[in-house]
Symmetry: C2
Subunit: 341 residues, 2 copies
């Protein structure tokens, strides 16, 4: 098996820097679009054969060093009773958002059996991968899930989310605690089904101040990492816009801390501490650049990683839908070539 | 005159911390909404009597320590030939965005006379203020203006902006240089019309990596600050999501560096250097919190400012339209009360 990715997560020496990309299975690939034309987002996620098939699409095509199970971070919210819809071109919409204590009380405290289809997709993807590359499981982190649950979709300023936090902190903590427990159980099931690493996506946590992160988010994330520690797989802790809270994210947990493109990787790694691995940090939009520009940017990131053990190459966030597919392939090859030990 | 604000910009001792809020004249005020119901955004901006009237609305109502001229950062783009529309509830739209060298070549290199109505609004607002508080002039910074010009409005991922930057760097620099020159002339006219301080809004520059900022933005911002240095008024340099580039922003210029809410103010100030003043950094959404929570947050920011000369209190970004107006007033009073020397 190509175990570069797992080795890098554990800060062990590797022959070259492993690379995978968030949303590597997605709309930028014709294979994905043609499957998506026939199935809704939710049925892709809920049909293990299809989810496994999508998971493998980028692995069949590119020399990536890890696969990530195809799913959506909002699936646990749906299982908890929120009416989730992926509206055409608008992103996810939740028709009965959480706004009050009664709404939080009304959420189902699921134990994970409701998400068994994801565990089954993990099993099938592992089988189909047949040891080629490791398989990553994932979940959304409590803050990011709460923001969707409260706003009823994506948000620009997170007014409703932060207002609940500031006005009814006990309701906020009740919701976050519930989400943390659900996410822990959900991730544990993915690991037991065969996920060989886990990434926690706190994609939107960078909208918070460092003080709010410490008070309203960190303890709940800590609960998740503490609950997964003994499962024995590498844990990746990811967010964007997190330059001001990287150290706190490390304290909250994770063997690997995700770094978005805003910070220089060497500066971010110094803040996080070299006793953790890091993942990142090419701007997803850099994949639209000419190849010589991609190469220059990859070179800069690798130079800043400094040949130190514990660097997983990735974008700072997911691949964008209009990304040129040949540039994705070229970037992977450039990363391998330039990082060869 | 209440000169706390100017003193703080110059890092001189003050009796208490001066405060003003970005978008302090705006939709959260009934006075503004009723005027806006009768006039379009563009006619408010282009009628000096009305712009001056709006400028004074928050000053009549709250004990703020500075006024800021009512205008829109996109006015120079309109004067340069872009067809600007403020679509209801959608933010600004530019119908002929800039996408190529030919589009850049087609922009009018305005000398500022086209924006004389803003200078006239400054004169009238100064007169109406009658020395009560200083008047701030402002402009959008080249990157933020270029992003609107290229995307044709607001953006989530700045794909078109960054693509132009990466694919046609010479066209990019030509556009940025043109914008920097226009902005410098425009701000100089505002100063000569009576603006007693200037804020450069690079609101969206935080979407860039530190490396891209250095290469594609910083030299152009430097040109503006160098061009205004001898005008003798304090210069404020503002952006959001800028934790990773605060030091570079200071190097690009400004007597006062804006800090958004993500960083702790003391940590941000240490990075910027104590030989510059800072402005910030309450989360705009904190104004939705109960007053005791607002007080706790103000207290924390003042404690982190540490009684050091050179702190202008502000939000980390503009007041949001649904902000409770009584909370704005209460926050101003809390800031003054808690910072009394």
């Amino acid at each position: 098996m190509n175990d570069r990715f797992l080795k890098a997560c554990r800060r062990e020496p590797v022959d070259c820097t492993p690379v995978w990309f968030m949303r590597q299975a997605g709309r930028y690939m014709a294979e994905y679009r043609s499957l998506r034309a026939k199935h809704s987002m939710l049925s892709l996620c809920k049909t293990p054969e299809l989810a496994a098939q999508v998971t493998l699409q980028p692995i069949e095509r590119f020399p990536l060093d890890a696969a990530i199970i195809f799913a959506d971070i909002l699936l646990p919210l749906e299982a908890m009773g929120l009416h989730l819809e992926f509206a055409e071109g608008e992103g996810p919409v939740i028709h009965n958002p959480v706004r009050s204590r009664a709404d939080v009380d009304g959420l189902k405290a699921i134990d994970g059996t409701e998400l068994e289809y994801v565990a089954e997709a993990v099993r099938q993807a592992r089988k189909a991968l047949n040891g080629r590359v490791p398989l990553i499981g994932f979940a959304g982190a409590p803050f990011t899930l709460a923001s969707y649950a409260i706003e009823g979709g994506g948000s620009r300023n997170y007014v409703l989310t932060k207002s609940l936090m500031y006005r009814e902190p006990d309701v906020w903590h009740q919701l976050m605690d519930m989400l943390a427990r659900v996410v822990t159980g959900y991730l544990r099931r993915q690991i037991r089904a065969g996920a060989q690493a886990i990434q926690l996506f706190d994609s939107w946590v960078g909208c918070l101040s460092a003080g709010d992160y410490a008070e309203y988010v960190k303890p709940h994330v800590q609960l998740i990492f503490a609950g997964l520690e003994r499962e024995g797989v590498p844990l990746i802790h990811f967010g964007t816009g997190t330059t001001a809270i990287l150290r706190q994210m490390r304290e909250a947990g994770g063997d690997v801390i995700g770094v978005d493109w805003r910070s220089h990787l060497d500066e971010a790694w110094a803040v996080i501490g070299h006793d953790r691995a890091v993942q990142g940090n090419l701007d997803p939009v850099a994949l639209y650049a000419p190849l010589h520009e991609i190469e220059r940017r990859v070179e800069d990131i690798l130079r800043r990683a400094g040949g130190r053990n514990g660097h997983v190459f990735n974008l700072g966030h997911g691949i964008l839908p209009t990304t040129p597919v040949e540039h994705v392939e070229a970037a992977i090859n450039i990363i391998h070539k330039l990082s060869m030990r």
